[in-house]
């Protein structure tokens, strides 16, 4: 199953998106945003807080920076606001809503801003749990017909588990892509190739890149 086909309108799978000038500007503007308190533009402040927790649960701080330390949350929020097509925007809003509803119910809490990382972790883990091929195919079908209905302007309701799964996996793809394309990770963490460049077709992994994946 190719989730990218199922969610064709979901550009969050940034791996497929080349770094266009728009995106580069976005990344730069994320970096320049030095206000101590971040105010999201696409999500509400409460949702923004959940987004930050989720991003750092997906990629926590280790000997390398966490997702939010390289402003992944700001990038995703701005990307959804400025680049995403309408279909993706409404899908991610809906997914975030469903996710927060369930997290509040699971934890007996009232508002999203009360949700801490420890409240969100079990639900994130459950939502991202590896699926069997059969199950993935069923989810794919469900998403396809949901997207089709939405595209045709018909009323559609998505199964809650499917919504959370789609939201969580899309978010994870977005977090990973945004993390790997951030300036710091791209230049300092991954193996960064500058010009003048050259090409070696087949060599020792450790010698060529120190065992790391190439940046970009």
């Amino acid at each position: 199953m190719d989730r990218r086909i199922a969610l064709k309108n979901m550009g969050l799978a940034l791996g497929y998106t080349v770094a266009t000038p728009t995106l580069i500007n976005l990344m730069q503007s994320c970096k320049q945003d030095t206000a101590p308190l971040w105010t999201p533009v696409f999500f509400s402040p409460e949702e923004g807080s959940v987004l930050m927790h989720l991003a750092d649960l997906i990629l926590p701080k280790t000997d390398t920076p966490s997702a939010t330390e390289v402003d992944v949350h700001k990038f995703i929020d701005k990307y959804l606001d400025e680049v995403s097509p309408e279909g993706e925007q409404s899908f991610m809003k809906m997914g975030m809503d469903r996710f927060i509803e369930k997290a509040l119910a699971d934890n007996g809490k009232e508002t999203a801003s009360d949700l801490g990382a420890e409240d969100l972790e079990p639900l994130l883990a459950a939502s991202l749990e590896k699926k069997e091929a059969e199950e993935e195919r069923a989810i794919f079908e469900t998403l396809m017909s949901y997207n089709e209905a939405i595209a045709n302007g018909e009323p559609a309701e998505l199964d809650e588990d499917v919504a959370r799964y789609a939201f969580a996996t899309q978010l994870r793809d977005g977090v990973i892509s945004a993390y790997k394309t951030s300036e710091y990770v791209g230049e300092e963490v991954l193996a960064y190739l500058q010009i003048p460049g050259g090409y070696i077709g087949c060599g020792d992994l450790d010698e060529l890149s120190g065992g790391k994946a190439w940046s970009l």
Partner: protein
């Protein structure tokens, strides 16, 4: 030469062992990879960024912007007029020659006429054919050069989107450095005589493909989030390789484009309608393209080899050609052997529209070679006073 990476070399060796006479070689791209100097705008060697699609700032990838336009400008004889929509070639019935072209400025919509002794239409297949179809006169009521009725017919492309991909659980301690702009090419091996012949279809196909190390999803789906996932995304994933066929499409008279005067564009010009489809030979060929792709990858030890077949429609290959075909007989063709319109010798058509068959290889270099040949012919004919 851009060398093959580890899995591409692997496939080359295994295919050579298992398939008589099948070759896997480097994909064909027009990049400078040596110290040799080329004319143009300060062209440099390839930096292996594989950002060719954006337009190469080093001029390493051949393009008219880096190469032929600067060379033409350097002669001092070039006037470039952008935003010009040529929509008609003007014709003088007294001399039997074209006299120039009519142009609409794309931005201002002002109309201009330019006169010339010789005219080269090289606007791309569909556009050049549309210009000729719009060039109506008493002599050519169905479009300039359309005495045969073949103008706009026999449209071809390459059919693609069929092949297979798989993973190779090997070479985990190997990698590549830099991003080359190509992968591999597998030249046509069908219907070349002897054992290569098949009775299922005529003509043949080639493959383009490539291998690379993927990302974490390939191998470690179990990692949903957290520390281990983070470690995994920073390392190269498993090797994958795919090959994708490019097949010859036959010329069919009823595969055609025509003008729609009921649906005009914003400049008041007729729009183009395509009426074309793949037929039996293409469909039969695709079966073989899929089967052979799977067979080669599996015999080379690839795992989870998955075939695919997404035919799309003619045009997806963006190798459209054949709508003003060349031929000896003016009754059945539009252009003569030097790309001249049979009945209007000072009009040359030098894009893909002159092609009579599509072969299965990328066509740009063929178009360029024919264009250079036609230009040389035009110079000689002008000197002789023949056109």
């Amino acid at each position: 030469m851009m060398e093959l990476n580890c899995v591409e070399q692997h496939l080359r060796e295994k295919v050579a062992e298992n398939f008589d006479g099948r070759v896997i070689t480097a994909g064909r791209v027009a990049h400078i990879t040596s110290d040799k100097k080329f004319e143009g705008a300060n062209r440099q060697t390839c930096q292996y960024r594989n950002r060719c699609i954006r337009g190469c700032p080093f001029g390493a990838y051949f393009s008219s912007n880096s190469s032929t336009l600067p060379m033409a400008e350097a002669t001092g004889n070039m006037t470039l007029r952008p935003d010009s929509i040529v929509h008609e070639v003007m014709y003088d019935p007294d001399t039997g020659k074209a006299t120039g072209v009519k142009v609409i400025d794309r931005l201002t919509k002002e109309k201009y006429e330019f006169t010339a002794k010789v005219i080269f239409l090289c606007a791309s297949t569909v556009a050049s054919t549309a210009i000729l179809l719009q060039s109506k006169s008493d002599r050519f009521p169905d479009g300039m050069g359309n005495d045969s009725g073949q103008l706009g017919r026999n449209i071809m492309d390459h059919h693609l989107g069929v092949g297979a991909a798989g993973r190779l659980d090997d070479y985990e301690d190997k990698y590549y450095r830099g991003r080359k702009a190509n992968g591999v090419y597998i030249p046509r091996f069908r219907n070349l005589g002897g054992k290569s012949n098949t009775d299922k279809f005529i003509r043949g196909y080639g493959y383009q493909g490539g291998g690379s190390r993927g990302n974490w999803q390939d191998t470690i789906k179990e990692l949903s989030h957290g520390r281990q996932l983070k470690e995994a995304i920073l390392k190269p994933g498993g090797w994958r390789m795919g090959i994708s066929g490019f097949g010859e499409v036959l010329p069919y008279e009823d595969n055609r484009m025509y003008l729609d005067y009921d649906k005009l564009d914003q400049w008041g010009l007729p729009t183009v309608t395509f009426d074309a489809e793949f037929k039996e030979n293409e469909w039969n060929m695709r079966e073989d393209m899929k089967e052979q792709a799977v067979d080669m990858l599996e015999k080379a030890g690839f795992k989870d080899v998955t075939p695919y077949d997404n035919p799309g429609a003619l045009g997806l290959g963006i190798h459209e050609m054949g709508t003003a075909r060349m031929g000896r007989d003016p009754k059945t063709s539009v252009l003569n052997g030097y790309n001249q319109v049979h009945a209007v010798k000072n009009v040359y058509v030098t894009d893909g529209s002159f092609m009579t068959s599509s072969s299965c290889v990328n066509p740009s270099l063929t178009y360029m070679a024919f264009t250079a040949r036609a230009a040389e012919h035009a110079v000689q004919e002008l000197k002789k006073g023949n056109i």
